[in-house]
Amino acid sequence: MTTRDILHETFSALTANKVRTSLTMLGIIIGISSVIIMVAIGQGAQGSIQANIQSLGSNLIEIFPGAQRSFGYGASGGRGNAQTLTPDDATAISTQVANIADVSPEVSGRYQVTAKGTNTNTSVTGVTAAYASVHNVQVNDGNFITDADSKNLSRVAVIGPTTASDLFATGTEPVGQTITIKGMPFKVVGVTVSKGSSGFNNQDDAIYVPLQDAQLFLLGKTTYLSTLSISAVSPDVMTQVQADITSLLLQRHNISDPTAADFNVLNQASIVSAASSVTGTFTILLAAVAGISLVVGGIGIMNMMLTTVTERTREIGLRKAIGAKRHDINVQFITEAVALTVIGGAIGVLLGWGASYTVTALGILQASISMSSVLLAFGVSAAIGIVFGYYPARRASRLNPIEALRYE
């Protein structure tokens, strides 16, 4: 039998009972489309989590002070409270460690902030010009803090869009206004571009002031840093940079035992990979549930094919009597099963695509369809056709023509 004849036979067999054919196909359609949707949603979630983390800064390594060690039997201070990081550490890192793009020394605290008659409590970060490039902060209106601002102790501030709307009435231009932080007046010189909030940490509700100002006026004449943020030149060198920084700081702080370090170095890549592994597990879970419905659909195909073989016993007998070989009958029934699953799979892919598109368009979630999941779905549906069509086809091809012709 030529391929064309097989397809002709398949078409006429599948259109003979349209209701049954479409109901059987529905099982595969639901299975394939749910696999596609689930994987798309999972990958979308993974992508948006990664993007969120990336928005904190690219190739970011953060150094926090560790716990303050005390001598004798006293309890140690809380983690992060120690005054161990200095601007000299920052300079040493930027000059002695390779593959570093920028170093941003920071201090932070929460303060009461007031403007004309308005009042808010928000985080205030003392920064240098490097902060903007390390943390991907862009200014919408005005300028970011400059190195000159920091050196000259000029009392200027850059505020986030949420803080701006908290402090100033809509329509008021924030740049040029004066705000008061902990009793000290600061002139607003810029408003940052909105980054969106990630969980409890709203990056839009923030105020940036020059580092020296914050150390002198807000924290009270301290020279220590609360964070050192470092951006590496590429994601590949993160581990090396992290290791170099650790050994440099250990040496500078005269600590020989790495477990007793008075600082913590956090690598953004490890945060990303931890988050990715969570969403990855989640995606596998969703896909597994969808996969079960695919298997159920496959069993539906097998059920229909077995019914078909029984119903068409006489036809099979006739085909054999006029010279069809086992192989011909086998191919015919397997083709029918594969046609069912492949057509069902194609419709399922379109449906899944449509659903993912709708979810994305409605802004519910950023679902991303990958070509690999479409190809996989197609391959899987064809494989299901072969697997679940094999047994019925084999049964048909082994029918004895004499008995098949007598079958009532």
Binding site: A13, R314, I322, A324, R326, I402
Partner: protein, 239 residues
């Protein structure tokens, strides 16, 4: 030419042995029109299955055009059926979802004959079987019993077989339509020199053939010219 030598067929069902054929021998020359006749349970169906290469004998040999058919595998038997035998069944066995023309083409589809030739051969076979041309593209469930059997005969003819086997071809037809179908067989035999074997239990049907082989309890009781009074009376007596 068909040569059957001492064929037996035994069905074993547990401890029970059924001897459907107990040593049957005959020769049928090309262009003969033979009726194999016998009551039910006589073994004529078993003989038809062996002659039609649907089954193989337990012992003995069957040569169809010098090919030994008695020891072939399933797929080799399928080749023989496809190339050398045409079947006409009592219950017609047309594909319900296909046109008359498509039904007739079916054996050629399995023989992988190119489409153009297929249509040519199928139309010629339908014309030989006497179906009106305006019925060629009708679905088989839109045809009458007589028309269906003509399509079935055309299907048996289309691969230009050495042998046409008709198993009770008039069993599901009224006597008038049955006579027309039997007339068609006679015409195919006389005009186109087709070798035809008709399996039947009815004497009136068997009389349309030139030769009658009467079989009973798995052995041939009579074999002779259908106009021979002795054969006819024998058949009558057996009824």
């Amino acid at each position: 030419m068909i040569e059957v030598k001492n064929i037996t067929k035994t069905y074993v069902n547990g401890d029970n042995e059924t001897h459907a054929l107990r040593g049957v021998s005959f020769t049928i020359d090309d262009g003969e029109f033979v009726a194999i006749m016998g009551p039910s349970g006589s073994g004529k169906s078993t003989l038809m299955h062996i002659l039609g290469a649907l089954d193989t004998p337990t012992s003995g040999t069957y040569h169809l055009d010098k090919h030994d058919v008695s020891t072939l595998s399933d797929d080799e038997l399928a080749d023989i059926r496809r190339n050398r035998i045409g079947f006409v069944f009592q219950s017609f066995n047309l594909l319900p979802r296909a046109t008359a023309l498509r039904n007739v083409m079916l054996p050629l589809i399995y023989a992988e004959v190119p489409e153009k030739e297929r249509i040519k051969h199928a139309k010629a076979a339908l014309a030989n079987a006497g179906l009106d041309e305006d019925r060629y593209n009708h679905m088989s469930n839109q045809l009458s019993g007589g028309q269906i059997q003509r399509v079935a005969i055309a299907r048996a003819l289309v691969n230009n077989p050495a042998l046409i086997l008709a198993d009770e071809p008039t069993g599901n037809l009224d006597s008038h339509t049955g006579d027309i179908v039997l007339g068609t067989f006679q015409r195919l035999n006389k005009e186109y020199k087709r070798t035809i074997i008709l399996i039947t239990h009815e004497r009136e049907v068997a009389e349309h053939a030139d030769r009658i082989i009467y079989i009973k309890d798995g052995v041939i009781v009579e074999d002779g010219n259908s106009h021979d009074k002795r054969i006819i009376s024998h058949a009558k007596r057996k009824e």
